[in-house]
């Protein structure tokens, strides 16, 4: 076995009464890729923050390269050759690439020479690792994949030997993720040590050498990747058996519930994002829209659910038109039985500063069952919230807790519980499991299937191809604002991938 790059011995860390990490022992060998998996709140990020000097462990010891070290600030970590690529990029959006790279690592008080040095160093890194990026490009104009590359370059520029990546593929397209993995393999071949934190098990299987599973603040297992399976890891993470692919019966499509005709939508910059799109969704079926993020799916469901004005086209809900080109009223649509689970639950779906019970009726708060005269009936609302908490297993089971204090998966359950419990005829749902744990994904998928089996129409938008394939009865692929193909649920990943990349656009158009 190779020598250890990092050793963590008996790490403990508590926040108040919550023990985020307990007695963590972990040895990461030099020149390997180590995966760390676990559900949200399992303590992965806390552990890495301790390693990067954001927090200090309450007790325990860290050794880097065999020597005991004390890491009090990110500076200490950087000096020890530890670099971190954060989930939310730590980049200054209106700075150039090179400005971001030298920030905090400038050679002297004046910038001129620092920039010149960084420029030649960047050229070297580009040669060695194939990390190409225009040093004078402004960050906010770069696609996320390149922004992430800048983060990696930042760490390498500071001489990182150990690179920690926190959920690196959450924002990437499949192609960008593949490219990232090639880069990581190359870094490994050059002797760097890589720690990959993720909850996507497929990535773990694809790229890591060994994998450690965390649950409730402890490391419950470490396995050689080649000798384990996705099923085993999922079970270790959740603590029980998990169905990775939801079982479902044959769809029984009924009446057309939602009919979209020649819909065209532009975004705020005036760019056409949805270009003359038509399709139907019937009761009793799930129609999945696959596509790389940014190909118009978001604008499509926003227009259908009345929060974005369309330029032209019609949408019929139960045969009656929705005013998509005028002042559509999301509240009225809700009354007509169209529920919407938005893609961005923080921005559109929830008021994070509200208590859970308030969010669980938001948008339905003028229904008579929640009112006592002109006032809210707090007792009824709380009773209703408690019911939803129980049914959807929302944790912690406290309806008075501020919504911001729930984990991502539980926040998503709050939104789903609110929309599904109103028993809508049509459900428009965007990225239902983004940032959600394996265990909760299974639950959410089951709920969506159950909706379908009750004869409801479900329009599902997701960038997770697995999700689309496992749930949908019909799959529509969007590329560049158009629907470029329709496939059955048995379509292969490769087939869909080509459509998503726009390769088969010509044939599909015929």
């Amino acid at each position: 076995m190779a020598e250890a790059a990092i050793e963590l011995i008996g790490i403990d860390k508590s926040f108040g009464t919550v023990r985020a990490n307990r007695d963590i022992n972990l040895v990461i060998e030099r020149g390997t890729i180590r995966g760390i998996v676990g559900e949200n709140g399992a303590g992965k990020s806390t552990l890495m923050s301790i390693l990067y000097g954001f927090y200090q462990a309450d007790s325990g010891e860290i050794k880097v390269g065999g020597k005991p070290v004390s890491i009090k600030t990110p500076n200490d970590a950087i000096a020890l050759g530890i670099g971190m690529v954060h989930q939310h990029f730590m980049l200054v959006q209106n700075f150039t690439v090179i400005e971001n790279i030298i920030l905090g690592a400038e050679d002297e008080a004046l910038l001129k020479r620092s920039i010149a040095n960084a420029r030649s160093e960047l050229e070297r890194l580009e040669r060695e690792y194939g990390l190409e990026v225009d040093p004078d490009a402004v960050i906010e104009e770069l696609p996320v994949g390149l922004q992430q590359r800048v983060e990696i370059l930042k760490a390498l520029y500071r001489g990182a030997e150990i690179l920690i990546l926190d959920e690196p593929t959450g924002v990437l397209t499949p192609a960008e993720a593949d490219h990232l993995f090639r880069i990581l393999k190359q870094l490994k071949d050059q002797g760097k040590t890589i720690v990959l934190i993720t909850h996507k098990l497929r990535e773990i299987m694809a790229i890591t050498d060994t994998v450690s599973v965390m649950r409730q603040g402890t490391v419950v297992a470490t396995r050689e990747t080649a000798k384990t399976t996705v099923e085993e890891l999922a079970e270790l993470m959740v603590g029980r058996r998990v169905l990775l692919r939801v079982e479902k019966g044959e769809a029984k499509p009924g009446e057309v519930k939602l009919a979209v005709d020649n819909l065209t939508v532009r975004d705020s910059r005036g760019v056409t994002m949805v270009d003359d799109v038509s399709f139907d969704v019937r009761g009793g079926e799930i129609v999945g829209i696959a596509g790389v993020a940014g190909n118009g799916q978001s604008e499509l469901i926003e227009a259908i659910s009345g929060i974005r004005k369309a330029v032209s086209g019609t949408v019929l809900l139960d045969g009656k038109p929705i005013e998509v080109t005028g002042q559509a009223d999301p509240g009225e649509l809700r009354d007509r039985g169209l529920a919407h689970v938005p893609e961005d639950r923080h921005y559109v779906g929830l008021v994070l500063a509200f208590e859970e019970n308030e969010n669980s009726i938001l948008g339905y708060h003028d229904k008579t069952e929640y009112l006592k005269g002109p006032f809210l009936d707090i007792d009824a609302i709380r009773a209703d919230a408690k019911q939803k908490i129980e049914k959807f297993d929302i944790r912690p089971a406290n309806d008075r807790l501020k919504t911001a204090n729930f984990s991502g998966g539980n926040q998503q359950k709050i939104v789903l519980a609110r929309e599904l419990e109103q028993n809508p005829g049509v459900l428009v749902v965007g990225q239902p499991t983004r940032g959600v744990d394996v265990g909760a994904i299974e639950f959410i998928h089951k709920q969506l299937i159950a909706m379908r089996d009750r004869g409801k129409a479900v329009l599902l938008v997701s960038v997770e191809l697995d999700e689309i394939r496992s749930l949908s009865d019909r799959i529509l692929v969007m590329f560049d604002g158009r629907i470029v193909g329709e496939r059955g649920p048995d379509a292969t990943e490769g087939e869909l991938g080509l459509l998503m990349a726009g390769v088969e656009r010509q044939e599909a158009a015929e």
Binding site: Q93, N94, A109, L111
Partner: protein, 383 residues
């Protein structure tokens, strides 16, 4: 030429009234670029002016006045920093509090120390900053245009005025060519990026706030020891807020900040010059009509080229109006008509002119001003 003289005269007073605006505007630039909004520029200027006036009167030295102005102003800036950086308080509340403290305490202390109704004793010329005459200014006075501009416009200002205008390229250089500037801009955009790069967010923001304090101190000192002969209560009269408006107008950039301050200074100088002078109807009418019509159009026009055209028309009308007012060529033509009838305009309206135009400019012209992204938000390390 009478017109050139009049023009140089008004441009000269433009520079004079622009100086405190410019210093305060650059002061705000340091703070806000670092992500600390500072509505307390006004209060710091006022306290600085008082400190300058009081110290100069007591010690008989403009330099001690200058030092005290900076000292007091930096002190208040640190209070703002302590509240909004260390204790993550609301920056607006803290800034407003500083304005109130300054407005109240200067009058109370002034009355207690000098018994002159809240003002400091009038200073003799030697205790103030005197005008600096640039080399050859007297010799060139009679050379048409160039000489007039040099000796009438560029020469004859005080040390702080030259300092203020030198501070513009200096600030640009600091922001865009030094490590401190890079970090300062970064911390105003994304403090988490600065933190993860191993730089202290607090210390960086404190340094920015101290720069603000120094510059507002200079601004106050200029008002008390250059523009006037001592401190008068409420002498800043909203210049701190105008400076903030100029900062937004300039989109937080040093060189545009200078032009914005000169523009506001020009309006101010114009209002002073036109005060009490009865203007004929023809001198007023086009401006009133044009401003109303164009302001209306500006709010309707979403199309960028149209906005530029409207802006150009507005500038053209303003220029034509200026010529007519100063040159007086039209006076004779309209002498006997209704349009030539002089109207005495209330002084208050003239004084309000720069503010009215500020509102119109800010509402219509600048388009989308994107403030530093982390501005106004205290930095809390996330888990």
């Amino acid at each position: 030429m009478e017109f050139v003289d009049a023009l140089i005269n008004i441009l000269n007073s433009t520079i004079r009234v622009s100086v405190p605006l410019l210093l305060a505007c650059l002061a705000g630039l340091y703070s806000e670029r670092a992500g600390v909004f500072d509505i307390g520029l006004e209060g710091k200027m006022l306290a600085g002016a008082f400190a300058a006036g009081a110290a100069a009167a007591v010690f008989g030295s403009a330099w001690i006045g200058l030092i005290m102005a900076v000292f007091v102003s930096v002190g208040l800036a640190l209070v703002h920093g302590f509240a909004s950086i260390t204790h993550r308080g609301n920056q607006i509340v803290s800034g407003v509090a500083i304005n109130f403290i300054a407005a109240g305490s200067t009058i109370i202390l002034g009355q207690a120390w000098f018994q002159q109704g809240g003002r400091t004793p009038s200073l003799p010329a030697e205790d103030r900053f005197g005008a600096i005459v640039l080399p050859f200014a007297d010799a060139l006075r009679d050379v048409p245009i160039i000489g007039q501009l040099y000796s009438g416009l560029l020469s004859g200002h005080t040390l702080l005025a030259y300092l203020a205008f030198l501070a513009v390229p200096f600030t640009w250089w600091v922001l865009f060519r030094t490590r401190f500037g890079l970090r300062l801009r970064a911390v105003g955009e994304n403090p988490a990026a600065v933190d993860t790069a191993g730089i202290s967010v607090s210390w960086l923001r404190y340094r920015a706030v101290i720069c603000t304090g120094v510059l507002t101190g200079l601004a106050g000192c200029y008002m008390a020891l250059s523009q006037n002969a001592g401190f008068v209560k409420d002498m800043t009269a909203g210049r701190g807020y105008i400076a903030l408006a100029a900062l937004i107008f300039a989109k937080w950039k040093p060189v545009p900040a200078m032009f914005a301050c000169l523009l506001f200074g020009f309006l101010d100088a114009l209002s002073i010059r036109l005060q009490g002078r009865p203007l004929a109807v023809f001198e007023w009418l086009p401006v009133v009509v044009a401003v109303l019509v164009l302001a209306g159009l500006m709010t309707i026009a979403r199309w960028k080229p149209l906005r530029s055209i409207i802006a150009a028309v507005l500038v053209g009308i303003a220029a034509a109006w200026l010529v007519s007012v100063f040159y007086g060529g039209l006076t004779a033509a309209f002498q006997n008509s209704v349009l030539g009838a002089p109207i005495r305009v209330p002084v208050q309206l003239m004084q309000a002119l720069p503010y009215i135009l500020t509102v119109i400019l800010l509402a219509g012209f600048i388009g989308k001003a994107i403030p530093p992204r982390a501005g106004g938000v205290p930095y809390v390390k996330e888990r």
